[in-house]
Amino acid sequence: MKRRLLKTLLVSAAIASLAPFTALAQQEPIRIGIINHDTGPFATPGREIRAGIDIFRELNGDTVGGRKVEIIYRDMGGSNPATALRLAEELIVRDKVSILGGFYLTSDASPAAAVINQTNTPTVLFVAASPTLLTQSPMFVRVGQNIGQSAVAAAQFALKSGKRKAYVAVSDYAPGHDVQRFFRSAFEAGGGKIVDELRAPLNTVDYAPIAERIKNADIDMLDIFVPPGAAAVSFSKSLAAQGVMKQNLVIGMGEAEDSDLNLFDDSIIGFHQALYYAEALENPENKAFTAALKKKFGADRSPTFPAVSAYDGMGLIYKMIESQKGKAFDGKAAQQAALGVTIRSPRGALTIDAATREPVQDIYIRRIDKVNGKLRNVIVDSFKAVKAPVIAN
């Protein structure tokens, strides 16, 4: 009898001690792997991506769908496809993350496609913008932009402004080639003529000869795409020195965002940019985002498109987690839940196209002007609900 009682006691004790475990299993944190650049040549946008994630968690908490969200960061340290694959493998296999995010460069994402496809890991591309990237994996979803969206908007704005003779000058690397292709096809489709085009090597230091060449062409507009930083500063100064900036419509993409304008002098005034985010947007989400950013990082900090992309990327990831509330996490189902959703983003409404997994969003045309004695990007036009364009290679 005594023995029996002991047994019952033991069993009930065992069951009792198990109970909290089953409860815990539902509450177990979910892990997100972020492949980002903390060091190396892309550390500046990498810092912005981290800021966007931080602000999202500050405003939206670190729990969703009843589960705590843990973020594991991995550093690319530069453009390196082999590292991208290794980091994705480690995050999925060893750290058991349920969703991947980050991806500033196209070459951060495409090598990881193999392991992502095998494990059905939903992957949110924050910034990587190559038009063909989404064909690499059915698990990829993009929240930044397809680079064609801004390039086509730039062409349409130029046509709308009555420009018909264009020069296209891009940096000689894949995104530059993409911009060139999209701009050309949209501009020609609208009745414009590409007078001449050139690809400047990425290591170009003195842009004066290139600006001189452009100046000597019979054009009324110039479309450019060069990386922000030294190249953008040097190119824009050369264009201004040759009078190209004043005599033509010069339109770029992200060469002189507000956060970089302290690098430029007044000769940049009049430069146009087409992009999916503008600091000057007046919507409540952007106001809240900007206020939180300035509160956390200081009044000097300006919001940037990588930060907003990361913010929205986290928004989409939270929606994926929420869809799996109370269930065992299913990657495919979570990704399906993200398709077709609309996020109220600091950039305006952002919808994930259910068919293409591309973002559908407004593209803003900004012009640099002096506002209260300071250089600012002022919104002069916008194109509503722009879809990712499709053109043949």
Binding site: V205, D206, P209, E212, L263, D265
Partner: protein, 291 residues
């Protein structure tokens, strides 16, 4: 013809001003290599340091740009004297590989320091108003800045010519370059001359960095990014040959500018193709043996 003249004037004006900046920055490297056979891959550090000082001092101290440029040059000169004592002097007599590793390491450390202090971006550089205007030449507009660069180059050339060809100091220095052991045997303190030449080279690099900021933007990566250009000048000049380095700098400036103008896609290749051809043709330097 009316198309060739503007293109030719453009290439001449821009190529020569670009070449002069390369010359002013590289001359110190040519000297140290000729004098001490020290391969100083960190030479660009002095140029970028001069630039960062010159464009930051005016707002800090409330002085004019010219004053700031001169002060920066003197500061870099002093810094280089100290660095020469504590660091570069130890490299004499090491093997070339050791020198290369030590100086490139120094270069990276300095890049990290600049990034830490000023961030990874380019430094916003604004020249004074009087330098940012335009002037007309042969029916078109050219920026005054390029003329200012050429004027600076002329002054520096004149000063160097007087110093090297018309003073005892210059004669002794040339003696040290041509035959160091003989110079030592006649009682010349070669080490002292080296220190002075090193400091002059660093000061000139600083001027190059300041004046050339409109062509070579100031950023932390500067000393590493433009190293191939500086080394091209040195390789084509031969050991310690100042006149050759002037000619080489102008040729490189002109070829690079013309290349970027006519074939922008291959802009980076033209100057290095030139390097390959010239090194195969005249491995001792472009003007070797020419006095």
């Amino acid at each position: 013809m009316d198309q060739i003249t503007p293109a030719a004037t453009f290439i001449l004006l821009y190529g020569v001003s670009y070449g002069i900046v390369l010359f002013v920055i590289s001359i110190g490297l040519v000297l140290t290599l000729g004098l001490m056979r020290v391969v100083n891959l960190a030479h660009g550090v002095f140029a970028v340091l001069g630039g960062y000082l010159a464009f930051n001092l005016p707002s800090l101290l409330g002085i004019s740009f010219i004053a700031s440029a001169l002060i920066s040059m003197v500061l870099v000169l002093l810094v280089s004297l100290v660095l020469e004592r504590v660091f570069f002097r130890r490299l004499f007599g090491m093997t070339e590989l050791e020198q290369v590793l030590a100086t490139i390491g120094f270069c990276f450390a300095f890049i990290a320091l600049l990034t830490f202090a000023f961030g990874p971006n380019v430094l916003a550089t604004k020249y004074p108003e009087w330098m940012s205007g335009n002037f007309s030449l042969l029916g078109r507009q050219f920026p005054l800045y390029r003329v200012f660069v050429m004027a600076c180059g002329l002054v520096i050339l004149l000063a160097l010519w007087l110093l090297f060809d018309h003073t005892n100091f210059g004669a002794t220095l040339r003696a040290c370059v041509d035959n160091q052991s003989m110079a030592k045997a006649t009682g010349i303190n070669v080490n002292w001359y080296f220190s002075v030449a090193f400091a002059i080279g660093a000061g000139l690099a600083a001027i190059g960095g300041i004046v050339g900021a409109g062509m070579l933007p100031l950023e932390p990566l500067y000393p590493f990014k433009h190293l191939p250009l500086f080394l091209t000048i040195v390789a084509l000049s031969g050991f310690g040959n100042i006149k050759a380095s002037l000619v080489v700098s102008l040729v490189v400036g002109l070829v690079d500018t013309a290349g970027r103008y006519f074939v922008p896609e291959y802009g980076a290749f033209t100057v290095f193709t030139l390097l390959v051809i010239l090194v195969l043709w005249r491995p001792q330097g472009l003007l070797a043996g020419w006095k």
